[in-house]
């Protein structure tokens, strides 16, 4: 009881010092193909208008499981080994937004909050009292409200946007670490093997050490 009280006090004290950034909305990213495919669709047809994903190649999308003809439609005339590049030339981006849009390949790993940050940021646009566009999570942003979130209050429409943002986030999480699924699958086998091996070693060790306590003549 006392421990909890101290813990609660510490929590309170820490929150009092903490900065006043709004808390991120948590998102459970999807790892299923339909979600990733919807995310890829949005990222490649919308985001890639300005942003590049220079470490993701069209071939990787096919390996992920997306149908070849769909990927063919996205890549146009580009080879399968080509990376996803932004359509907007750098100088045009500088002229209209004042900065070059960041590459998205590692975006899900490159910001504090990771997936939650992307999800919150995409849904964080709002109309300021002055009538301009603002973002709760990254106020200095130059990116337009690409999902057209600001001003939407209808719950069903909002839910649809949340689904879309979740799909985009899920795809970017995949893009940041495309071997994650393989890694986890292998991890279960490795740890399972180690558990069995270590248990056996434990009993072997115990049996060997038990010999020490037996009288020498036995």
């Amino acid at each position: 009881m006392k421990r909890w009280l101290v813990f609660a006090l510490c929590q309170f004290a820490c929150s009092a010092w903490g900065d006043t950034e709004p808390a991120l909305n948590e998102v459970r990213v999807g790892v299923d193909l339909p979600t990733l495919e919807r995310g890829a669709e949005t990222v490649i047809t919308v985001c890639a208008g300005c942003h590049s994903l220079k470490y993701v190649r069209f071939r990787d999308l096919v390996r992920l499981g997306i149908a070849q003809d769909k990927v063919d439609a996205w890549r146009g005339g580009k080879p399968m080994g080509a990376a996803i590049t932004g359509q907007l030339p750098a100088d045009a981006a500088l002229a209209s937004f004042g900065k070059i849009p960041p590459d998205l390949s590692l975006m899900a790993r490159a910001r504090e909050g990771e997936a939650d940050y992307i999800y919150s940021y995409l849904l964080g646009f709002y109309i300021t009292p002055e009538g301009t566009l603002g973002n709760h999570y990254y106020p200095p942003t130059k990116m337009p409200d690409i999902l057209a979130v600001a001003g939407v209050t209808d719950p069903s429409q909002r839910a649809q946007l949340e689904q879309k943002a979740r799909a985009v986030t899920s795809f970017l999480v995949w893009a940041a670490d495309p071997h994650a699924r393989e890694r986890r699958a292998l991890g279960y086998y490795v740890i399972g093997y180690l558990l069995i091996f270590t248990t056996l070693l434990y009993f072997l060790k115990r049996r060997t050490w038990a010999k020490l306590d037996r009288p020498a003549s036995a």
């Binding site: 990787d60 490159a110 890694r183 991890g187 740890i191 060997t208 050490w209």
Partner: protein, 414 residues
């Protein structure tokens, strides 16, 4: 046939004798607890780091324009490159966990006492080498935190009197961290592990001369020593299994926790990250650096905080063996010190604002006070414990002194 070959070798090189003497029949105290597993684990982690590192170096490009891309190439295209890199990046943290536990055990049982001073000092050199290796390796992915961390730390050498600027220039090979720095850090990051390996050899030669310490603190009789094989080979292997389960849980399920988010952004000399913070294993020392308001003082305090462990064989003047096991005051100091280091580690991860600054300064004071008070407290504690009465197993080590004979003062005739 096999025995004839072995015989041929043995007449020219003491292979069988070496294996028997230093491995299989090597006498080891049977009361070693699991805290004594961490030396072996450190050796294992070192080998794992070298093996994964060599393979990573086959694909890595130490060039400012290629380094970040080549790491992504390893992560995405190289067969099991992600596994190699995650083992290596997690292994760096694991190395420090193991080394810090190994040091903590030595501190708790005061194993640095005579005759193991050289073990402690070679260990101190190993700690410095490992820190240097980790620091240089951290630059190689060429992310934002790599770049700015290296920039900040190399800058610290600028406080060298008279030749500060030249020293920084010499370290970086350029006026700021750049291609020359990356290439030389890569070369040295490849070299240092082999220096560490050689130092580990010296550490082990010293160990096999003085033999392992043990939780009782008393040198054991021959009957209490048991051959290393099979008893400790099995105990070490079982410990290794437990270690690998924890290690693999990180490698396979949360490898991202040891890679700063800012390090997934390529290095950019024009944009400073909001918080530049070192990896967790440097944070206590980083907190000490920031606790001193003067830069030169801070750098000296930080260097001293790492090196000061070397004074322990002298600073701890108690003759009572077993460290914290038989010495309540030393035990209290030990736990205060560990808690203090944890506080420093926390402070090192926070922005240096008012309260954190104060906390860091208090913790820094306690850190050094522990070492400066130890010579006096340890001597006083020994006197107190001996007056109070030692536990029976220690009494034999302290034979009662013969009572002092008082000679009558000769009467001097007036």
């Amino acid at each position: 046939m096999a025995s004839r070959v072995l015989d041929w070798i043995d007449r020219r090189f003491p292979l069988t004798r070496f294996i028997r003497h230093e491995l299989t029949e090597y006498p080891t105290p049977r009361n070693l607890s699991y805290w004594w597993n961490f030396g072996f684990l450190a050796g294992f982690v070192l080998v794992l780091q070298i093996v994964t590192g060599v393979f990573l170096a086959m694909f890595y490009k130490p060039d400012v324009n290629l380094a970040f891309d080549s790491v992504q190439h390893i992560m995405r295209d190289v067969n099991y490159g992600w596994l190699l890199r995650y083992i290596h990046s997690t292994g760096a943290s694991a190395f420090f966990v193991v080394i810090y536990v190994h040091m903590t055990r030595t501190l708790y049982y005061a194993s640095y006492h005579k005759p193991r001073e050289l073990m402690w000092w070679t260990g101190q050199v190993l700690l410095l080498l490992i820190m240097a290796t980790a620091f240089m390796g951290y630059l190689l992915p060429w992310g934002q935190m790599s770049y700015w961390g290296a920039q900040v730390i190399t800058n610290l050498f600028g406080v060298t009197p008279f030749i500060g600027d030249q020293v920084v220039l010499w370290l970086r090979g350029d006026f700021s961290v750049g291609d020359a720095t990356l290439t030389r850090f890569f070369a040295l990051h490849y070299l240092f592990p082999f220096l560490i390996l050689a130092m580990v050899g010296i550490h082990l030669i010293a160990l096999h001369t003085v033999k392992s310490s043990n939780p009782s603190g008393i040198s054991l009789a021959d009957k209490d020593n048991i051959p290393f094989h099979p008893y400790f080979t099995l105990k070490d292997l079982f410990g290794l299994g437990v270690y690998l389960i924890v290690f693999c849980a990180f490698v396979f399920f949360m490898p991202g926790v040891f890679i700063e988010t800012a390090n997934n952004i390529p290095a950019n000399p024009l944009v400073t990250p909001a918080h530049i913070e070192p990896e967790w294993y440097f944070r206590p020392f980083y907190a000490i650096l920031r606790a001193i308001p003067d830069v030169l003082g801070g750098v000296l305090a930080m260097a001293l905080s790492v090196m000061i462990f070397a004074v322990l064989p002298f600073a701890d003047r108690s003759n009572i063996p077993g460290g914290a096991r038989h010495r309540p005051v030393y035990r209290a100091m030990f736990f205060i010190f560990i808690a203090d280091v944890l506080v420093l580690g926390y402070v090192g991860s926070q922005a240096p604002t008012g309260f954190m600054m104060l906390l860091g300064q208090v913790a820094t004071f306690i850190y050094f006070a522990t070492f400066f008070l130890l010579p006096f407290i340890s001597k006083w504690e020994e006197r107190w414990l001996r007056a109070r009465g030692l536990p029976p197993e220690l009494i034999a080590l302290f034979p009662p002194r013969p009572p002092r004979v008082k000679f009558p003062r000769p009467e001097i005739a007036p």
